[in-house]
């Protein structure tokens, strides 16, 4: 089986977002960029599949050389090879086009993406990619088993789950549940050593985008007014405040 895991680079979950340049940018100084947490579940799942079926796992990122560090980490975690498509990730459509072009050359059976990137929370790339390749799209995937030429997937929906049978190739947008948190793979010493000898290929792409959805500026959420502390012996007061002041109950 030939598996692709798409990886995006995002600010570490503990990052505070500070705005600069008249709120037109956020300050990247001091922010550590990490593998998008949803992608980590996918990468671990891909490596589990590799361990049980002797598949090949490739990781791909669309972006500049700053992202080589996260690709090396993915190699250390256990991917066989890494590809960086050298292009600024201007928008989801461009990213999906770059990856789709690459897929057309490589014939992947499974393409994993995270449910969304935790920076812009777009949740666009996986669906765009599936549609560009004209293959099934499974979103919010919380479980997966491989059969002969189909996969059985569990998808989260608003009020429960659905289980479906999907022919592959398919795009699977994963999240926690695809593997358990405690099973997430982390780089081992040996992994870090062998990662140095694994290929990190940089390819150019001629894909252009005619249209764009541009960031004009950012806004900070308004601060909350000071917290009103209610005496734990006077719980009635809280109910009163929620009813007459906040008007929510």
């Amino acid at each position: 089986m030939n598996i692709l895991v798409c990886i995006s680079s995002v600010p570490d979950t503990t990052s505070k977002i500070n705005l600069i340049n008249d709120n037109k940018e956020f300050d990247r100084n001091g922010i550590t960029f990490i593998i998008n947490p949803y992608d980590e579940f996918c990468l671990t799942k891909a490596i589990f599949i590799k361990e049980s079926t002797n598949a090949k796992v490739t990781v791909v990122n669309v972006g500049g050389s700053n992202n080589d560090a996260i690709l090396r980490k993915a190699l250390a975690i256990g991917a066989d090879n890494a590809v960086r498509i050298n292009k600024e990730a201007l928008n989801g459509n461009l990213v999906a086009s770059c990856i789709a072009n690459y897929c057309q050359e490589e014939n992947f059976d499974l393409i994993f993406c995270g449910r969304e990137s935790i920076d812009f929370n777009g949740g666009k790339v996986p669906g765009f990619l599936a549609q560009k390749l004209n293959i099934p799209f499974v979103n919010s995937c919380v479980g997966m088993d491989i059969h002969d030429n189909t996969i059985e997937v569990k998808e989260e929906v608003d009020n429960g789950q659905i289980i479906s049978k999907v022919k592959y190739p398919a795009v699977i947008a994963g999240q926690k549940g695809l593997v358990e948190e405690k099973d997430l793979k982390i780089p081992s010493m040996r992994g870090i050593m062998t990662a140095r000898t694994k290929p990190l290929e940089v390819i150019e792409s001629s894909v252009e985008c005619n249209n764009n959805i541009k960031v004009i500026n950012y806004e900070k959420p308004s601060e909350r007014t000071e917290c009103k502390i209610v005496d734990s012996e006077k719980v009635n007061d809280l109910v009163e405040l929620l009813s007459t002041e906040a008007k929510v109950i």
Binding site: I118, G127, N139, I163, K176, E219, S232, V248, I249
Partner: protein, 319 residues
């Protein structure tokens, strides 16, 4: 050119989020002086859509949200959007919305703006404020596509008004052939509880509750308030609660009118998913818990004594 709202229903019944996205569509239609078309599959009680502003309703009777896959649903909607010459398409950013909106955007070659939290700017309907960085910031996007899908975060537009209008209702069959590469085998409904994205009130609890056996009081409180239940990440990691309840930066993002956090410390990753809530109540034994800094109301106290009292107080209030 027309304004189209995709309205979602479950077993025929329209969701609150659909009325919200209809109101959003109505707002834009008024500004552009154009018609608002509501489209759906497998809907019942279609008249209810008129009360939220639809001038025309197209219901596809041979598809539904429960049994058809994402690809097929997206195709059915894409076809109607093209037939009706839709220029701005509104959808709610629910689980289903997230699945089908990127597919539709590709099918009809439209721009996709996800996570909108406000109406577009008055004099520039392609400029929209959205959530980013899991609510740590907002971002204003401007699209240069001539067709756009705006996906709005549930419960972010505020008051939605019912109106008395007139609307035409069309029931149709779609000729789209279902794609056999993707077959739904089974659907498990978690329960009849309110789903997180539909809820006005969310009652959430963390590791401070000590163990899963202590959740009945959380559920009782939630039921009393008509609320959905949620939890912090460690609680779902330990299997005390299902994954689907995990809120935060790496879980579900919520923005109810009221979020009650019980025995949750308020780590930055937790706050990222909940600080868009309009009111936050924190109940924690530790006065120094960071959550109090993000809260509107707080009680410093032991959940095991405070929650039963709160349940009593709310029961009294209701009578």
């Amino acid at each position: 050119m027309s304004i189209i709202t995709i309205t979602e229903n479950w077993e025929g019944k329209f969701k609150k989020t659909s009325f919200e996205s209809l109101s959003y569509g109505r707002h834009i239609a008024n500004q552009m002086n154009s018609k608002l078309i509501a489209i759906t599959i497998g809907g019942n009680n279609l008249e209810s859509l008129i009360q939220y502003g639809a001038d025309k309703i197209i219901n596809i009777t041979n598809f539904n949200f429960e049994n058809n896959n994402n690809t097929d649903i997206a195709k059915v909607f894409s076809k109607i959007i093209e037939e009706e010459n839709g220029s701005t398409i509104i959808i709610s950013n629910t689980n289903i919305g997230k699945k089908i909106s990127p597919l539709i955007a590709q099918n009809i070659n439209a721009g996709l703006i996800t996570n909108a939290v406000a109406y577009p700017e008055k004099n520039n309907l392609l400029k929209v404020k959205c959530k980013a960085f899991s609510s740590k910031s907002f971002v204003v996007y401007e699209s240069d596509y001539n067709k756009n899908i705006i996906s709005i975060i549930p419960n972010s537009i505020g008051e939605i008004n019912q109106i008395t209008g007139k609307g035409e209702i069309l029931n149709q069959e779609s000729e789209i052939k279902s794609n056999q590469d993707y077959q739904i085998l089974k659907r498990s409904k978690q329960n009849d509880k309110i789903s997180l994205s539909d809820a006005n009130i969310v009652v959430s609890a963390g590791r401070g509750l000590k163990g899963p056996e202590n959740w009945p009081m959380i559920e009782e409180l939630a039921e009393l308030l008509g609320a959905a239940t949620a939890c912090s990440k460690p609680v779902s990691d330990m299997g005390w609660r299902p994954h689907s309840e995990h809120v935060g930066q790496t879980g579900i993002a919520v923005n109810p009118d009221l979020y009650i956090a019980i025995g949750i410390s308020g780590a930055i990753q937790h706050l990222a998913g909940v600080n868009a809530s309009k009111n936050i109540v924190v109940i924690n034994t530790d006065a120094e818990a960071p959550f109090f800094k993000a809260a509107n109301y707080g009680i410093i106290g032991d959940a095991f004594t405070v929650i039963p009292k709160l349940i009593e107080a709310i029961k009294q209030h209701k009578n």
